[in-house]
């Protein structure tokens, strides 16, 4: 196990270095840059722009900028945002909780609803429910989330007045109920795609488990269908789901770009979009590295959990 961990850790470091070099290079080679936003300011002279470039260290050769950034990163300094001067970790931390709340809720919803639909679809194969679930999943996967979001706002906010138009809470309120009220629409909209994915995977995994010999044996022994389903089928079907959940970890933390924009949610997705729009390199790089670490961690955790759950798998 420790050998496995060491091996994976060294692979991960190499991966992070490669990701950072590519990310840094691509970002810095984009024309424009962080000072482009001042291009239309009537009072900013060319000298002002050059002075700012020097203060931000943007006039140095790219490789020096990268080494400087990487060296600071190793020392725990993720740099400072070009926009407001705050440290990158502070900026990320400020947006993380909002994303965790939204994505956590929608993921929990997606797993619960998706698993139920998947298992029921598998156990009632070719029923009306199964067909409806299949078609519903296709629709949810094909239609863009922002469309669902805007339609949801139009129907449930403007027409019916049931839920707020967006935002994480009402300014001046912020009670638990208020948070929950604001959470309903975005988390449901966001969970739609994941419900579709989970239900399809779960259906396949359940069908696969149902066809195994040990299920037939259990049935021959007279074990009840309910017990077979709960004890044997779901447990086995969940194994591939752990990998899926591990792979979804980064997306849970890095947020949902479009949903956060449509619902005015102050999370990581919007932070990424804004930072990219302003060419705020330190924040974009911070988010990139943060996501890369999460991908690596997510996969690692999934591997370990699977090995723990399934004794046939050995980590080496």
């Amino acid at each position: 196990m420790s050998g496995f961990l060491l091996n994976r850790l060294s692979q991960s470091i190499v991966l992070l270095v490669i990701v950072s070099i590519i990310g840094f290079t691509v970002l810095n080679l984009m024309p424009g840059g962080p000072l482009a936003q001042f291009g239309l300011d009537p009072g900013m002279t060319q000298k002002d722009v050059e002075r700012l470039a020097e203060q931000l260290g943007l006039n140095r050769p790219l490789w020096i900028q990268y080494l400087d950034w990487a060296w600071r990163l190793i020392q725990g300094d993720w740099g400072h945002s070009f926009r407001d001067g705050s440290s990158v970790l502070t900026v990320i931390g400020r947006h993380l909780s909002a994303t965790l709340l939204l994505m956590g809720t929608s993921t929990a919803l997606a797993i619960a609803i998706g698993s139920w639909i998947g298992i029921r679809g598998a156990t009632h194969r070719y029923s009306l429910f199964d067909y409806c679930a299949t078609v519903g999943a296709m629709v949810a996967l094909s239609v863009p989330t922002f469309w669902f979001g805007l339609i949801g706002i139009y129907i449930f906010t403007l027409k019916l007045g049931w839920v707020p138009a967006g935002n994480m809470y009402t300014i001046g309120d912020g009670s638990v109920l208020d948070y929950l009220h604001h959470l309903i629409l975005p988390s449901l909209v966001l969970s739609l795609v994941h419900v579709a994915i989970w239900s399809r995977y779960m259906r396949t995994a359940t069908l696969d488990a149902l066809s195994q010999d040990f299920i037939k044996t259990a049935r021959a022994k007279g074990v009840s269908e309910r017990r077979i389903l709960l004890k044997h089928v779901v447990g086995n079907a969940l194994l591939p789901m752990i990998t899926l959940a591990g792979m979804q970890l980064p997306s849970i933390l890095t947020g949902a770009l479009v949903t956060e924009t449509v619902f005015t949610w102050p999370g990581m997705g919007r932070l990424f979009l804004d930072s990219l729009g302003y060419s705020d390199y330190p924040v974009v790089m911070g988010l990139l590295i943060f996501s890369a670490i999460l991908v690596v961690l997510g996969n690692l955790v999934a591997d370990i959990v699977i090995a723990t759950v399934d004794p046939r798998i050995r980590l080496a």
């Binding site: 984009m30 024309p31 424009g32 840059g33 000072l35 482009a36 936003q37 001042f38 291009g39 239309l40 300011d41 009537p42 009072g43 900013m44 002279t45 060319q46 000298k47 002002d48 722009v49 002075r51 700012l52 203060q55 931000l56 400072h80 945002s81 926009r83 407001d84 001067g85 705050s86 900026v91 400020r94 947006h95 909002a98 805007l150 706002i153 906010t157 403007l158 707020p164 138009a165 967006g166 935002n167 994480m168 300014i171 001046g172 924009t261 449509v262 619902f263 005015t264 102050p266 999370g267 919007r270 932070l271 979009l273 804004d274 990219l276 729009g277 302003y278 060419s279």
Partner: protein
């Protein structure tokens, strides 16, 4: 900044003099930030809250650091400048007790010595008294090479700052520079007693929780969501009347409008309601939706160093081929107003006598024929080996501008002119591509003035061509010796009447030379709930929240 206010934009005294002559509309101008209907009685506590919806997030709270328009609303509320500019373009005292000019001795006859008297009843939000030392510190901080300051133009000319007393300060200018008074209306004073202790003021904690002298104090910020300011009960002026001022960040403009409709937002700030929602917005119950002229001006901007555009005949022909009215009415829902110049129509310096544009394709053809631009085999005109073909760029993702481009592309094609569309994201577009004149032509909406001052040296002087090593943003690479001389003279002249003649002539010359083809002056579609009073658009500032201290809810 109005034709009605046919007076100086420099002093209250001048304004009052001209009001007496007949500028009836200016009557309320000197009092705008003062007492009349907007004032609360000294015992009344500020009440209520106004939520301003913004399309970009304010993130820079130190007003001296490089920032963008959207940050201004916070700066105007938390801080004060020495002077403030009102909607008529008249400069009013703010932290200063009067606006200096050559008549009252605040500015010497040669324009080089400035002396400012300050209020003695101002306190910082932390209770410390404000004094001339803070002004000195502010002006010096701007020029500190290690500080990430915003605009340095004008400030770079300041020498020998002397604190005469806690309420009086003077300095010498390296050369006479009349626009500096306007620059100072956007230069907010920061507290010396807090920032002088910082080793690196660019990363100071102050920048995330500023302390000012303004009508609102820092409340709290939820990054990515909103920012809350609270009433400063010790404010030296009249106001504030509302207890809380909230800037809410809503990046998607459709969602911004939806939240205005649903009532989540009380007032729509930058970038306001999109033109396509204007008609519907006007019909919303309990909302007030108005068109407000802005100082921003949209043009078909040319790079004059491109061989295609060097000849005036080509520029004239292209201008004649632009059906402005169709673009404004058909694409922009009639929201903007056609113009012939970069100067806002509301400005004292606006020249109303410029030749009017006329859409006439036949005339355009004749101009090109006469100038020897003959259609080649491919139907594209050419002369001396130069094809009349060029690229046009604008910010991608702006559907209205993209439609305008396609419309122009088709019209120009009828003339035998090839226009290729090549759009870029904003972060790319306005970087080197724009700043170093790497484009053929662009469609751009930009402001030429700082405050209400008519000086456009940075945009139109041949010394300001960055692509040729200049220090400004004359990206069209426009060079006309007469314009240069006029601009130099204008910057040294303090008398508004004399300046008016100078900038009228500049506009005439620019209209004649057509370094850019003027399209329209922008109007913003501003919306607010019916109960909010005191909101007063001011095209001389970049924010709708410049006078939030006067806002209040009708009881």
């Amino acid at each position: 900044m109005t034709k009605r206010s046919a007076t100086s934009n420099y002093s209250r005294r001048d304004a009052l003099r001209m009001v007496a002559i007949g500028g009836a509309a200016s009557v309320f101008a000197p009092n705008l930030l003062g007492k009349p209907a907007l004032a609360r009685t000294s015992t009344a506590k500020p009440t209520g809250r106004v939520i301003v919806g913004l399309g970009q997030e304010p993130t820079v709270f130190n007003p001296l650091m490089a920032h963008i328009e959207v940050d201004d609303g916070v700066h105007f509320s938390v801080f004060d400048a020495l002077f403030r500019i009102d909607p008529q373009g008249v400069i009013q005292p703010n932290l200063a007790v009067e606006v200096p000019n050559q008549k009252n001795g605040g500015i010497s006859e040669d324009g080089l010595k400035w002396r400012i008297r300050l209020r003695d009843d101002v306190r910082w939000h932390d209770g410390k008294p404000f004094s001339a030392e803070d002004v000195k510190f502010t002006l010096e901080l701007i020029m500190n090479p290690n500080f990430r300051s915003w605009r340095t133009a004008g400030h770079a000319l300041v020498r020998d700052i002397t604190v005469i007393s806690p309420t009086e300060i003077s300095w010498r200018m390296e050369e006479a520079f009349a626009p500096y008074l306007s620059f100072l209306t956007e230069t907010f004073i920061v507290p010396k007693h807090i920032l002088e202790k910082e080793a690196n003021p660019s990363n100071a904690a102050f920048n995330q929780a500023p302390v000012g002298t303004g009508a609102f104090k820092w409340g709290k910020r939820v990054p990515g969501d909103h920012l809350e300011l609270v009433a400063n009960l010790e404010y030296f002026g009249e106001g504030p009347h509302i207890e809380r001022l909230v800037f809410k960040y809503i990046p998607d403009l459709t969602v911004l409008y939806t939240q205005f409709k649903s009532g989540d937002v009380d007032l729509v700030g930058q970038p306001y309601i999109t033109p396509d929602h204007y008609r519907e917005a006007k019909t919303l119950p309990n909302r007030v939706v108005t068109l407000v002229p802005r100082a921003s001006f949209e043009s078909f901007y040319l790079n004059l160093e491109r061989p295609q555009f060097k000849e005036l005949a080509v520029r004239e022909a292209l201008y004649a081929a632009i059906d402005k009215e169709a673009i404004i009415q058909g694409l922009y829902y009639g929201v903007p107003a056609p113009t012939e110049t970069f100067m806002p129509k509301q400005s004292l310096y606006y020249n109303p006598n410029l030749p009017a544009h006329e859409y006439n394709l036949d005339r355009a053809r004749k101009i090109l024929d006469k100038a020897g631009w003959v259609p080649g085999r491919d139907g594209i005109r050419a002369k001396g080996g130069v094809r009349l073909s060029f690229a046009n760029s604008t910010t991608s993702g702006d559907p209205l501008r993209e439609q305008a481009q396609q419309f122009l592309q088709q019209t120009f094609a009828q003339l035998g002119v090839e226009m290729k569309i090549s759009n870029l994201p904003a972060a790319v577009m306005w970087g080197e591509f724009w700043q170093q004149s790497q484009f053929d032509s662009v469609i751009v909406g930009s402001t030429y003035l700082i405050g209400a001052d008519p000086d456009v040296t940075n945009r139109l002087h041949s010394r300001s061509i960055a692509a040729k090593g200049g220090r400004g943003s004359n990206n069209a690479q426009y060079a006309n010796p007469e314009v240069d001389a006029l601009l130099d003279k204008g910057a040294r002249t303090f008398d508004p009447e004399a300046r008016r003649a100078i900038y009228h002539r500049v506009q005439e010359l620019v209209r004649q030379d057509l370094p850019f083809l003027p399209l329209y002056q922008s109007n913003s579609v501003q919306g607010q709930k019916k109960g909010i009073s005191g909101v007063m658009p001011n095209g001389n500032t970049r924010t709708e929240s410049w006078n939030a201290l006067a806002w209040h809810w009708a009881s």
